[in-house]
Amino acid sequence: MISKIQDLGRVGVTVIEAIGAATMLLWNSIFWGGPGSAGFGDLIKQLYSVGVRSLSIIAVAGFFVGMVLGLQGYTILVDFGSEAALGTLVSLTLLRELGPVVTALLFAGRAGSALTAEIGLMKATEQLSAMEMMGVDPLKRVITPRLWAGLISMPILALIFSTVGIWGGAYVAVDMLGIDDGAYWGNMQASVEFYNDVVKGIIKSVAFGWVVTWIAVYQGYASVPTSEGIGKATTQTVVISSLAVLGLDFVLTAVMFGGV
């Protein structure tokens, strides 16, 4: 009985320690070094591996999500004779919810896991210790550009996701289902507001990008430097950041759209 309580306490202490360590990592790498502190070239390189290489999966996923929204929305709206509102449905769903959230989930799987594995392997092969020996701060050299790359790429990827999705929805609605082109775009323009929908979606995606990269980088940095430990850290990254994104999404939605 006593040992059970001790175990519980140990879990609690470990979790709080991890949160503290992750916050220290974030503070030391992001606030004391701007995007260019480790050299602009490093940031570009990370933007390439984090952002550009996630582009194809994001674009393809966005197109299909948009097309499915178009089809599903049509079958529901046509019963009420209001299929002209399909453009509104597709665009608001993508801009407010699916764009940022699905992008963040794909981003966690595609870029987050890669970040964790990369940093974990650097630790396992003692590249990080070697940097410290040479007097190079591995936080600034390794972590900072990756954090900033994640923070910058996420909103861009989410925007591209929504854009491709809206055009995918337009393809299904206008070309396949025969909804009037003017009704699709006109109703969308009448109900989508730039500040209320587009900008709030961007705020969401920045928050998600920050959470996902932060968790990915910390998991890699704190991983046990063995092949098993790296595998575990990579899984943890995907699981924790997906849950964090979904939970944070509820909070952000309640704050920005909930009217509370």
């Binding site: 550009v52 582009l55 775009w185 730039f194």
Partner: protein, 153 residues
Amino acid sequence: MHKRTVEFTVGAFMVMGIVALVLMAFRVSGLSMSDTGDTYTLKAHFENLGGLNERAKVSMAGVTIGRVTKIYLDPEWYSAVVEMEINKSMSTLSKDTSAAILTAGLLGEKYIGLTVGAEEEHLKDGDWIEDTQSALVLEELIGRFLFNKAEEG
């Protein structure tokens, strides 16, 4: 991967992001620069708003000429007060312009329809529209209908 290629693709990535943002702004949300600024405010009392929202359209002859900016309850008259912004280009609304809460389609959103009157004088910033017509509330209509039927029978 060659260094030049990396830089080029990252640049292209950034440009795509900006293009997506511009498309969102102008094609999807219909943002236009001329909309902001040149408006004046009119106010009106309504008995019942029946689901009119802030940001609803204000239209005349089916053309949107403004937006509802603020809705609140007048504590003295217990009626709803609606403040709306009208484009400056429509500054020649007569003093006896009437406002009605209408519905787009059978179940669509509520909006305010203005009908111009015959007086010479124009409404100015902050003026009240005197002649207003409340929203048609379906429950009230059905209730009245049933009441009449019951009286007849």
